[in-house]
Amino acid sequence: MTTVDKKKYKVIGTSPIRHDGADKVTGRAVYGIDYHMPGMLWGKILRSPHAHAKIKSIDASKALALPGVHAVVTGKDMAVAADIEVEAGETSLNYMHLSDNVMARDKALYKGHAVAAVAADTQHIAEEALALIDVDYEVLTPVLNGREGMKADVPLIHPDQTTKVMAFRFDPGTDTGEKSNVAGRSQLKLGDIDAGFKEADFIVEREFTTSWVHQGYIEAQNATAHWNNDDNITVWNSSQGTFNQRQLMAEILKHPVSQIKMVPLEIGGGFGGKIPVYLEVPAAMLSKKTGHPVKMTMTRTEVFEGTGPASAAQMKAKVGATKDGRITAAYAELVFEAGAFPGSAVGAGAQGMFTAYNIENILIDGYDVVVNKPKSAAYRSPGTPQACFPAEAVIDELAELVGMDPLDFRIKNAAKEGDRRADGVQHPEMGNLECMEALKASDHYKSDLGGPNRGRGVASGYWGNAGMPASCSIAINADGTVSLAEGSPDIGGSRTSIAMMCAEAFGIAAEDVHPSIKDTDSIGYNGLTAGSSTTLRNGWAVFEVTNQAIELIKARAARLWETEPENVDFADGVFFSKAEKELKLTFKEMAGKLMETGGPISVAASVAPRGAGPSFTTHMVDVEVDPETGKVDILRYTAAQDVGTMIHHDYVEGQVQGGTAQGIGWALNEEYFYDDKGQMLNSSYLDYRVPTMLDLPMLDTILVEHPNPDHPFGVRGVAEISVVPPLGALANAIYAAVGVRMRDLPMAPHKIVKALQEKNGKTK
């Protein structure tokens, strides 16, 4: 649905077949895991079996003696990287920590932490060699929970770490000097919560916990690296940001950035998890040692144990409202487990937590705590699903106390343009209220639940979306088609959405634009394929290159028509003379005349966009709970989201549906199950339960198009936010169905049965 008048487009808003489609349905597309080079060796990583242990010595002599083994590297071979903070999605890393995460030096900080790497003729030989590497560990007591880790008497994971009071993730901060596992403390404060809570007639305060969850991309991490004799390094992999990884590689390897080339192959999902580097570094080091290209891929267990999942959190939320349903104040405490190194997404969680609502008095305290678990990485709207879960659950309770329909309560308190967020920024033009109202007007809202033990829940969400720089270039072909070079890895169809904006600008068909994704030597700088920014920022870049090309072609038309360029205009795909109406040529016709009017035309541009435009959404879900087993079945789901101007309709909708499915998994079944020694017990798709096709219904969407006024095509990020509301929406729906408030994720069947037994025990 469209609620705001928008421009009429010919290509934008349609759903052409993606340019890489034929390759991907026939198996011809080459993903990172598919890459192969002649003379290539296979690398494998030896990982710590302990969650917290000193590495006293490593003896690889037996492994090196195994026929077929070429080289071994350990932490001792790593250069010492700088102690500088670096971008990694909403999570942060410092180069030194990143280097230590890629390969442990003195201490293994989590089960699965890399301690050595081996290169051999085959994968099987490399695996055998791992078993022959002797590592002498001194096992230490692990710290496995954020709140526990904050206590004074627990072991310090980084003995010299002191707590810093920080405003930003990379803030040098005010050092408190207190040695602690708490790496950072931050706060967002707006207005006066004491005054706000005094105004309230009802106050609800609750505690919540969530578990570690994984992005669960189907293609495991992989890298093939070749360290050439001239010291130029080439890496073929699947990543969410070639330029970012090039920088990380340079810092970790202490190698000039100009001598590293990252080649983006097709990527089998990322969701934030393929922003950091892991295997790229040991693959390059093994290549240097052996003189061969080295390919490394992770097993699924390694992906779970050795990459960057999303933080578990322990949280408090307190919200007050007046009798007539106005929220007067909100307080929250967010404790995020960062993993083995500082830098969780707690800051982003705080920023997103209450942001769908207009609340004048807010205080949010955030804690970033290191624990002996993998270093957290970004995962779709990082930090925000965790933080919005308590917000949406407490707001649901308040609505009940006030006696309002939960959707009406949200509509009454919805943030609008000009209202201030917790960080003080005024909301720009956006479609928050429109989403809520669209849901209220939906058939779903009006439908009956149709049976016992069924309930309906709603929840809203916010995600800020990112900008980041982008570069692209175009070459106009004589037949009127356009070759479009991009530099942002395409995970979900962005090369087509970017090509569509190019086609729109020139008045040609999407199929007449031929997009390709280039390596770091072949295109200008591009930020991460992350932050829901790829279509947005490349839209800006395409806007630039097409505008420049149009000006150049105008000059050629002027030459043809023996007039001045300012007398030529361009509209709807046609160049025409302002003076003589009969003088007109389509873009395609002009393309055929470039050679004779001065030669071919190609244009490149780099942009640093502003005004990413925030995302807002509200979801509604119907569930049926089996009160005897605790099983939750999802009967119906509708997600209403402000998607700005949709470029590719079906891929926008697909992003909304995909994030929703991940949020459902997060809410109901997904978790890292640890024993008391910090061993993950369910590191396979068998026991880490991502939703299967049978676990989900059709996922309905209401796509509200409120164009982003700060973008030439009205694009707003769409990809991430849909993972945010399912956690709260499902908790609220389960309450509506069987009367228990679930505050510990996942809301697994055994927890629901226990809650029901406790509830029934009490009422007896």
Partner: protein, 161 residues
């Protein structure tokens, strides 16, 4: 240590194909690393994601759970054998037209599995499609558009009869 390799004879995508492999190599590994047919993907290597689905003697199997040596005498279809020189298979076309793939890594497994279903049951219900494909994980789409693509393909294929 390289063991003695076994000579295996199969029919692969309609053509007689021979390869050498060691007993500890899976059919998946043989397809990808020996025959360089990388359309069949590895997602979990323990039979829980379906990305490596191939059709073996008329049944879909996870090729990570079949040894290369076990394929002796088998007739195997991989994603590379689904399209013909005349064009894409209707299921492949339906996946494109329904935007049933995002990153695309699970797509070959879904298409090979769906093809086996539609050859056996030309008009499956939504519930049947979901049941048949429950062994194939997709993390991008939420499955909605995949289900629609398979049902759509069934209609197209039925229409051609």
């Amino acid at each position: 240590m390289a063991a003695v390799k076994t000579h295996v004879r199969t029919t692969l995508n309609g053509e007689a194909t021979e390869y050498l492999c060691e007993p500890n190599q899976s059919l998946l590994e043989v397809l990808r690393d020996v025959l360089f047919l990388t359309g069949t993907k590895e997602g979990c290597n323990d039979g829980n994601c379906g990305a490596c689905t191939v059709n073996m003697d008329g049944r879909i199997v996870d090729s990570c759970l079949v040894l290369g040596v076990e394929a002796e005498g088998s007739d195997i279809l991989t994603i590379e054998g689904v399209a013909t020189p005349e064009g894409l298979h209707p299921i492949q076309q339906a996946f494109l037209e329904n935007a049933a793939l995002q990153c695309g890594i699970c797509t070959p497994g879904f298409i090979v599995a769906s093809k086996a279903l539609l050859e056996k049951e030309p008009n499956p219900s939504e519930a049947r499609v979901r049941h048949w494909l429950a062994g194939n994980l997709c993390r991008c789409t939420g499955y909605d558009k995949i289900v629609k693509a398979v049902v759509d393909a069934a209609n197209t294929m039925g229409g051609k009869k």
